[in-house]
Symmetry: C2
Subunit: 143 residues, 2 copies
């Protein structure tokens, strides 16, 4: 994986995308829009929230490019825009190898514990060795 942001600035739109996604109401609005366009009134319905409060959330989503407005002058329906979601996903995908490796090591260790091939003392020694190896790798790592 290529480290991003060391030396080269990370794209700013990821800032606004992730910030917009950091709220349960906004994520729920996106989930609703994934099944089709909806007006502000329709979007506000399932929430115990005023329309101005919903409008505030919609503005955050709109600024992040996650939603846009349809052309119907009366309803001004909002629709989901796919690109920022795909870009956020792409950034996270860069770490897939890392988390799959971490989960695999944990699975292997749990299996060894189940079959009794490793005792607690040994496990601690292994963890210690792994950490030392990682640390040395980290020191060698270039930015």
């Amino acid at each position: 994986m290529q480290p991003q942001g060391y030396g080269q600035p990370s794209p700013n739109h990821l800032d606004s995308t992730f910030a917009a996604l950091a709220d349960p109401t906004r994520r729920a609005i996106l989930a609703r829009l994934a099944s089709g366009e909806a007006s502000v009134t329709e979007l506000a319905e399932p929430f115990a929230m005023s329309q101005p409060a919903i409008s505030k959330h919609l503005k955050v989503l709109e600024r992040a490019g996650l939603i846009s407005r349809g052309r119907d002058a009366q309803r001004r329906p909002r629709r989901l825009e796919a690109r920022p979601l795909a870009e956020a996903n792409e950034w996270l995908e860069g770490y897939r190898q890392f988390w799959e490796g971490q989960f695999q090591r944990l699975d292997a260790l749990l299996n060894e514990m189940k079959t009794g091939t490793v005792k607690m003392g040994e496990m601690n020694m292994r963890q210690k060795k792994r950490r030392q190896a990682k640390r040395q790798k980290g020191r060698r790592g270039s930015y």
Copy 2:
């Protein structure tokens, strides 16, 4: 895709994960830690930032569970924790079908324009029809 958050509350840890990811310095720190553990001094090196400023970012990442502290009492190395990244990725994956569909429709339209099988006027009509169909689907959609 299952809409999340309409009726059932969306998990809170996604809030702190996405909020932590909404900053280029914090994303760069994670990218650095993906290649191995590092102390605060090592993490601060490539940034034109004071150690207290970096420590503030590390606290946000730690609270979100994205990093943890190693046992070396002197270096207190930070290491990347995979789980929150995998969970954020899982949430976004729920929209894959949506963005792939949106990109495919765009590709198809651009191809038609290239081969001259569709003219601008027709394209607008198609978009209008698609929006109407979507709107009706949205109205029918259950929460």
